[in-house]
């Protein structure tokens, strides 16, 4: 890649040599890795039999997935009544989980597309898993709006498809319909983006594998990649275009999700700050989730040289800034409520902070605003254990943020006669755990079948120049 780039862009006579260029780059990959080492290191976990740790993690995830499947089956068989919702609180765990997972799915696009456009080279180590995570998170997210319906078998009615029911059509005024478009677009673009980025690596796998099923699959999905300059050119153009297409989605998806609430009349929902607030929150939670996964993957798959402390620190800085935005939004909401003079609005926020669900509110504030402040300190944000704990805390906090927004606004709205409490049922909790099962099962399988780090892109940011003689496994020079 480096070579081809140089060939294309710098044919000048007194161009700096590869060594000279490499010396100017920041050290993103440590351990003196050369392209051949990259391929070997990253492909190795796929060639090996799974480790005991993988099996343990996979069993737990699969068990959670199976439990979740049983819970959802039971719920669909008996009715939404098996959830703890009531006439006043019509959404709780379902939509909380939906927004939570959509939020997590945000970091993928942010890292892949936005950071790509801003030429943030450190993204290369994390973008693949972030994109995969996005896909799986959006899958989990998409599940909840479907199963939360009273009649999920009619979910297809949400689509504006031509039908035989005369002029019966969907309601384009409804934010739920906007959600359908936003989420499906996001899922589609994310999947395409992830797949396009995977093509060079799939070609590497194809070339490395012995003849067999894996080679055949890799060969189909690498779409005849031959590593030529022309292929690379096409690839980079498409990748750039997709990055450009995906960037607005980072903002649109969560903006639209936030409109589920912002366009409603319920105090605590009906707020114009929601779109930026939700986007910041989504990126915040997405980064925390990426980091959580990366720290695990780094440890389990011995990728310390690829996901370095520099990566973790960069992510922490981004998280800190997003966390501050989220904190600002919390404060602004309170200010607006006080300033609005609207007693219903004021009551909702006082009720959040001091009412029956205040424990959830203060969990949210502590997890999202107070605790992440330790990231101001360099030694702490370079301490992997501390960062891991903070990421988990942020994820918990961001789940509670959605829970607080949804449940505390609904449970005490306009007419005090209808005020009600909400307690989740076993089915609801297991369904939530099941979504984690789905997510981690998918992620763990992904780790086994595809390179968790974008090899082709990593090679572009290596400090060490390639050896004069290409490694054997890259005989065709495809990915080098």
């Amino acid at each position: 890649m480096v070579e081809s780039k140089q060939k294309r862009s710098a044919p000048a006579v007194n161009a700096p040599s590869a060594e000279e260029l490499a010396a100017l780059r920041p050290t993103l990959i440590t351990g003196g890795k050369r392209p051949g080492d990259v391929t070997r290191d990253i492909c190795e976990p796929m060639d090996r039999k799974p480790t005991a740790l993988w099996w343990a993690a996979f069993s737990v995830s699969l068990a959670a997935l199976i439990a979740g499947t049983i819970a959802v089956t039971y719920q669909i068989a008996f009715g939404i009544g098996t959830w703890g919702l009531n006439r006043t609180v019509g959404w709780a765990f379902d939509i909380t989980n939906f927004v939570f997972w959509v939020g997590i799915g945000h970091a993928g696009t942010l890292i892949s597309a936005v950071l790509f456009l801003f030429r943030q080279k450190w993204r290369t180590s994390v973008n693949r898993s972030a994109e995969a995570m996005t896909l799986f998170a959006v899958m989990c997210a998409g599940l909840f709006p479907v199963i939360h319906m009273g009649r999920p078998w009619l979910a297809f009615w949400m689509g504006p498809y031509p039908n035989t029911r005369g002029s019966l059509w969907v309601n384009f005024k409804s934010p739920l319909l906007w959600d359908v478009f936003a989420i499906s677009t996001y899922l589609l673009i994310s999947a395409v983006f992830w797949y396009i980025g995977l093509i060079p690596d799939l070609a590497t796998i194809r070339d490395r594998s012995k003849p067999g099923i894996r080679q055949r699959i890799a060969s189909i999905f690498s779409l005849g990649w031959n590593g030529s300059a022309r292929t690379w050119h096409r690839y980079e153009t498409v990748y750039m275009l997709l990055a450009g297409l995906a960037t607005p989605l980072v903002f649109s998806v969560h903006t639209i999700v936030s409109m589920d609430f912002a366009t409603a009349v319920i105090p605590g929902w009906h707020t114009t700050i929601f779109p930026p607030y939700f986007v910041a929150g989504a990126i915040f939670s997405g980064l925390a989730m990426v980091l959580t996964l990366m720290i695990i993957a780094r440890k389990v798959m011995q990728l310390e040289n690829y996901i370095t402390i520099v990566h973790i620190e960069s992510m922490c800085k981004l998280m800190l800034s997003m966390g501050s935005l989220v904190g600002l939004a919390y404060g602004t909401e309170f200010f607006m409520a006080a300033y609005s003079g609207n007693p219903y609005e004021q009551f909702v926020f006082l009720n959040r902070a001091l009412g029956p669900f205040s424990w959830a509110y203060w969990t949210m504030v502590s997890c999202n605003v107070l605790i992440p402040q330790v990231l101001w300190f360099r030694p702490l944000r370079r301490n992997v254990a501390v960062v891991f704990v903070i990421c988990i805390i942020i994820n918990i906090g961001m789940w509670f943020e959605r829970f607080v927004i949804i449940v505390t606004s609904l449970h005490r709205d306009f007419l005090p006669s209808s005020w009600a409490h909400y307690t989740p049922t076993t089915i609801e909790i297991i369904t939530f755990i099941g979504s984690f099962g789905l997510f981690f099962t998918c992620f763990l399988l992904f780790c086994r079948v595809a390179p968790v780090i974008a090899m082709a892109e990593i090679k572009g940011v290596l400090k060490n120049p390639p050896r004069s003689k290409a490694p054997q496994e890259s005989a065709k020079g495809d990915a080098v």
């Binding site: 008996f78 009715g79 939404i80 009544g81 098996t82 703890g84 919702l85 009531n86 006439r87 006043t88 019509g90 959404w91 709006p145 939360h148 319906m149 009273g150 009649r151 999920p152 009619l154 979910a155 009615w157 949400m158 019966l168 059509w169 969907v170 309601n171 005024k173 409804s174 934010p175 739920l176 319909l177 359908v180 589920d260 366009t263 409603a264 009349v265 319920i266 003079g341 007693p343 219903y344 004021q346 009551f347 006082l350 009720n351 001091l354 009412g355 609904l410 005490r412 709205d413 306009f414 007419l415 005090p416 006669s417 209808s418 005020w419 009600a420 409490h421 049922t425 076993t426 089915i427």
Partner: protein, 1016 residues
């Protein structure tokens, strides 16, 4: 007459040919839907035999000749009488294809005035009850009438020969024909008595009148004529004697207008919180023992004002705390003499004598209390009951026959009575279900359901009405009247008996303007439902002041006082098998499914008990004790407990699995228990009356919890103090004013909204060219009685969901009554606000539905399209009024007989769809079709919603807001009109009229005056 629906039909076989033949059903087979429809078809065929014979119909024949006017699929109304309780309100039975579906108030009825209570509305589900006894039982085994008759007659013959005692126990009988049949039946026996046992007795009022007026009668109270009403504990808007009649009368004086800013003044002295107290202008919480002294002091004060002071004090002095209240009240009463009314629920004859004295001093007899045309709605004589118990225990009874009341359930010491009953040679129960007495009775001769039999009633001397059957009996049951007649040797159909009695006794009492021939008289009555005749002579003597004695000093006892009361949805054990009534929230406590111990907030705090703590209530010296959950009741006097009677009825364990069954669901009825607990063990006979007030009650905590299923868990218009924003402490959802303020400014009490009602973001591009349906509810008339809740449930096929679903705040009622206690002490505002879909012009639910399952009609209705709904619940979340109801489960419709109660005009909703008030769109459409078929515009008042039709207070006005001359247009111009949450600009089609309390203006409370915000 013009108010009656024009398709009003009479079910008299004499008019339309024999339409009511009875088909004997296979005793083994249950009544299936097919079977029922088949049979219902027969009843309209002319092919069968005449009269009420029991000829079995073998073959199915089509009906080439329909009864005149019968249109398949169209609701037909029959004027009848509700016999759900002895109040005997006028009732219209709506039947469709031979199937009674909907009970409505009979317009123009002199007592009920077109309203009908929740119990009356809930009759149909009791009719289609598959657990109703379908056969006579002998020693608990199914038998047939011939065998039973033979054996009963034989037993009776032996008893007659042995000259043993025969006792027939019934509640108050208002039916003249049945009373005659009872007299006929008892006549040949040497020692026969008819014992009247009401589930809650009012014996003391009758006894007191016997002493003061020498006639054991119940006065006819005329609340509509009273300017000042003083009630000592009498819940006359809820359960006392004739609540529908009294609600209509009371509310007729609660509509101050611009032209005449006048209304009655109502003071309630009570120790528990009753529905009536919650509607009073002034509610004074008193200890129950204070009742006598307060009445005594009041009589003294009135005596002083009248210039005829009492010779001696009637009772110990009432606490000086009440001095100013009594002085003020005495003055008001004296000023309104002749137009005031004092009523009291006491079962102490002495206290009732003082009440009579007060009414006498005030000259209320012959104006607000009518003794010349007395009420016959309660006739219990507790002395008779007391004697009966003694006779039973003394083993002196030869035959005991019990109808319409469960002797063992309603009387204390049921264990010893059960033993005594076992020794009686002949015991007969006429119960429709196997109640406690029926379980031990030798013969059970099940009565018809009230919709299956001919009956009559004379609730008021001189007002007689007919109850006609509207379908063939579903089981092999027999009217009590027929059974008694059969055993007294003159077997015949109830129809014949009623008609004969009317010809002999009622017809001669006709008024001068009545038809001259019996047939015309009968037909007219049958069509109209009732007739007014000359009342029977009543020998009333002038008031005897000597009869009024000094009240006995009540015994001082340690511990709590216990008040036993009737819950509005459950007036007696007869209705204990009715799931609609069990799930109807009590209008005051909002609790469904069962009874509980009401405890005052002071005691709850002192004892450290909270809602749902199970406590043991016991009485020292008596073996009876009950374990019940606690409900902390605002407004209840300290040291007072209150428990509802008529719970814990045998057979209610059938409701254990009434709701959706899933693994976290709690059963509606715990194992080996019934719905609620029977508190009749605390009833005591003292001085010849049943006492519902006990003292010396001990309360101990058990440490267990039982969550009560209440539909409302927050009870104030004020938000919790600790989280109240400044200026937003109180929500102006119900607006109030006082009569003084209203007289000065008719717009007083209007809440200030920062909303001008004019500015619109969107163009007005949704015209309502034809109709614009709207509703106005007068909160000053509405008492919260909840009749509309059941009316709506019956009309709109609202399912019963059971204890667990209500506990989870998932009740399905489309119409709910919000009840708020706002403020403290005597200044507390207690509000009842019917709340249902407000049919907003800018409906928040409509914009958010992704599949357009809720849309607006060009008549202003917010329509829910069930088969399009996918159940996202977004609409419910976005509804500011929280009136949308979601089908969380598939609510069971497995009982094919019970399904016959469903209104075929209204879809039965499936699981996963949203539903809500449709403003009875099916009735609107029917009304439009009817008008169209006559080529006329829809007349104002021709369409009535179910809630409006049944409202005893006539608080609901519905109509076309486009029609300038309509009642609703007038109501919309009422200065008291406001809309709930108007500031949201959702433009509801439902408006409310402000509450006006006849009380002093509060000094501190700043009421906003803002005419402008309400001019739009």
């Amino acid at each position: 007459m013009t108010q009656l629906p024009d398709n009003l039909r009479s079910g008299d076989p004499g008019l339309h040919g024999p339409s009511l033949e009875i088909v004997a059903l296979d005793e083994s087979s249950e009544v299936s839907r097919r079977r029922f429809l088949e049979a219902a078809g027969f009843s309209f065929s002319l092919a069968a035999l005449g009269g009420c014979g029991r000829a079995p119909v073998e073959t199915s024949l089509p009906s080439p000749l329909q009864p005149a006017g019968a249109i398949p699929g169209r609701l037909q109304y029959y004027a009848s009488t509700c016999t759900g309780c002895p109040s005997a309100c006028g009732m219209l039975v709506g039947t469709r294809d031979g199937r009674p579906l909907k009970m409505e108030g009979l317009p123009g009825h002199p007592l009920s005035g077109g309203g009908l209570c929740a119990v009356g509305q809930a009759l149909p589900i009791g009719l289609y009850d598959s657990q109703r006894l379908a056969n006579p039982l002998q020693a608990g085994k199914s038998s047939d009438w011939a065998t039973v008759d033979q054996q009963v007659v034989e037993s009776l013959r032996q008893i007659k020969e042995a000259a043993k005692a025969v006792r027939l126990v019934t509640p108050t009988i208002t039916s003249p024909t049945l009373q005659a049949a009872i007299d006929r039946f008892l006549e040949p026996f040497a020692d026969a008595k008819h014992v009247v046992l009401d589930s809650v007795s009012h014996s003391a009022i009758l006894d007191a009148h016997q002493q003061t007026h020498a006639a054991r009668v119940l006065p006819h109270y005329r609340f509509e004529q009273a300017d000042v009403i003083v009630s000592f504990g009498a819940d006359f808007l809820g359960t006392w004697i004739s609540p529908v009649e009294f609600t209509a009368a009371w509310s007729s004086r609660r509509a101050p207008s611009e032209a005449s800013p006048e209304m009655s003044y109502h003071v309630q002295f009570e120790s528990r919180m009753s529905l009536t107290g919650s509607n009073a202008d002034r509610r004074v919480s008193i200890a129950p023992e204070e009742q006598g002294p307060l009445l005594g002091s009041l009589a003294e004060k009135i005596g002083e004002l009248s210039g005829q002071p009492l010779s001696e004090p009637l009772a110990r002095r009432a606490s000086s705390d009440y001095g100013p209240v009594l002085t003020d009240l005495a003055k008001r009463l004296w000023d309104a003499r002749g137009k005031s009314l004092v009523v009291c629920d006491s079962q102490d004859v002495g206290v009732q004598r003082v009440v009579n004295l007060l009414n006498h001093q005030l000259g209320n007899y012959d104006s607000t209390l009518d003794l010349k045309r007395p009420s016959r709605q309660r006739q219990a004589n507790d002395r008779g009951v007391e004697e009966l118990i003694a006779e039973m225990k003394g083993n002196q009874i030869g035959a005991l026959l019990v109808a319409e009341v469960d002797l063992l359930h309603d009387l204390p010491e049921s264990d010893s009575l059960t033993e005594a009953i076992a020794k009686i040679p002949l015991t007969v129960s006429f119960a429709t279900h196997e109640d406690e007495f029926a379980a031990v009775a030798k013969f059970v001769c099940p009565d018809h359901h009230v919709l299956e039999s001919w009956a009559d009633a004379e609730p008021l001397s001189g007002l007689v009405s007919l109850a006609q059957p509207t379908l063939r009996p579903l089981g092999k049951t027999r009217a009590v009247l027929e059974s008694l007649d059969a055993w007294s040797g003159r077997p015949g159909a109830a129809y014949e008996a009623v008609r004969a009695h009317w010809e002999e006794v009622i017809f001669p009492r006709r008024r001068a303007d009545a038809p001259d021939t019996f047939l015309a008289f009968w037909e007219q009555t049958l069509h109209q439902g009732f007739v007014e005749v000359e009342s029977e002579e009543n020998l009333i003597e002038p008031f005897k002041i000597d009869a009024v004695d000094t009240l006995a000093q009540p015994k001082e006892a340690e511990g709590f006082s216990l008040v036993l009361y009737q819950k509005i949805p459950m007036p007696g054990g007869r209705h204990s098998q009715n799931p609609w009534l069990h799930e109807l929230p009590d209008p005051v406590t909002k609790v469904t499914w069962g009874n509980y111990v009401c405890v005052s907030p002071e005691d709850a705090e002192k004892r450290g008990i909270a809602d749902g703590d199970v406590v043991n209530v016991s009485i020292s010296g008596v073996e009876s004790s009950l374990e019940l959950p606690v409900l902390v009741q605002i407004g209840q006097h300290k040291d007072v407990l209150a428990i509802a009677l008529a719970y814990g009825c045998k057979g209610t364990d059938r409701f254990a699995k009434i709701g959706p069954q899933w693994f976290e669901a709690r059963p509606t009825v715990a194992e080996n228990e019934f719905v609620g607990k029977n508190a009749a063990g605390f009833v005591e006979f003292r001085d010849g009356t049943q006492q519902y007030l006990r003292s010396g009650i001990k309360l101990t905590k058990t440490g267990r919890k039982f969550e009560l299923a209440a539909t409302q868990t927050y009870h104030s218009l004020e938000v919790p103090k600790e989280i109240a924003p400044r200026g937003g402490e109180r929500r102006e959802i119900v607006e109030h004013t006082t009569l003084d303020a209203f007289a000065k400014d008719v717009h007083s009490g209007a809440a200030e909204h920062h909303f001008d009602g004019e500015t619109q973001l969107w163009p007005e591009d949704h015209p309502r060219p034809k109709h614009s349906w709207g509703m106005v509810i007068d909160l000053n008339k509405c008492t919260g009685c909840s009749a509309c809740v059941i009316a709506c449930q019956s009309e709109n096929n609202v399912p019963v969901v059971g204890y667990d679903e209500v506990r989870r705040q998932r009740e399905m009622h489309w119409m709910r009554i919000d009840r708020y206690y706002t403020g403290e002490g005597e200044d507390m505002d207690i509000d009842h606000q019917p709340m249902m879909c407000q049919h907003c012009g800018n409906a928040p639910c409509e914009t958010v539905c992704p599949v357009l399952a809720t849309v607006h009609s060009d008549e202003g209705l917010n329509e829910q399209v069930y088969n399009r709904c996918v159940g996202t619940r977004y609409c419910a979340n976005n509804c500011p009024y929280k009136v949308r109801r979601f089908n969380w489960f598939k609510y069971p419709h497995d009982d094919s007989l019970q399904n016959l109660v469903l209104n075929p005009d209204v879809t039965v909703r499936s699981r996963g769809v949203m539903e809500k008030c449709s403003m009875c769109v099916q009735r609107i459409e029917a009304g439009k079709i009817e008008a169209k078929s006559h080529g006329q515009p829809v007349a104002d008042g021709a369409i009535q919603t179910a809630c409006q039709q049944s409202c005893p207070a006539s608080a609901i006005v519905f109509g076309d807001m486009n029609d300038q001359g309509s009642k609703i247009s007038a109501a919309l111009d009422n200065p008291r009109r406001f809309r709930v949450l108007e500031e949201l600009n959702v433009r509801p089609s439902v408006s409310y009229l402000r509450v006006v309390k006849n009380r002093e203006e509060k000094n501190n409370a700043e009421k906003h005056h803002n005419r402008e915000s309400h001019s739009g």
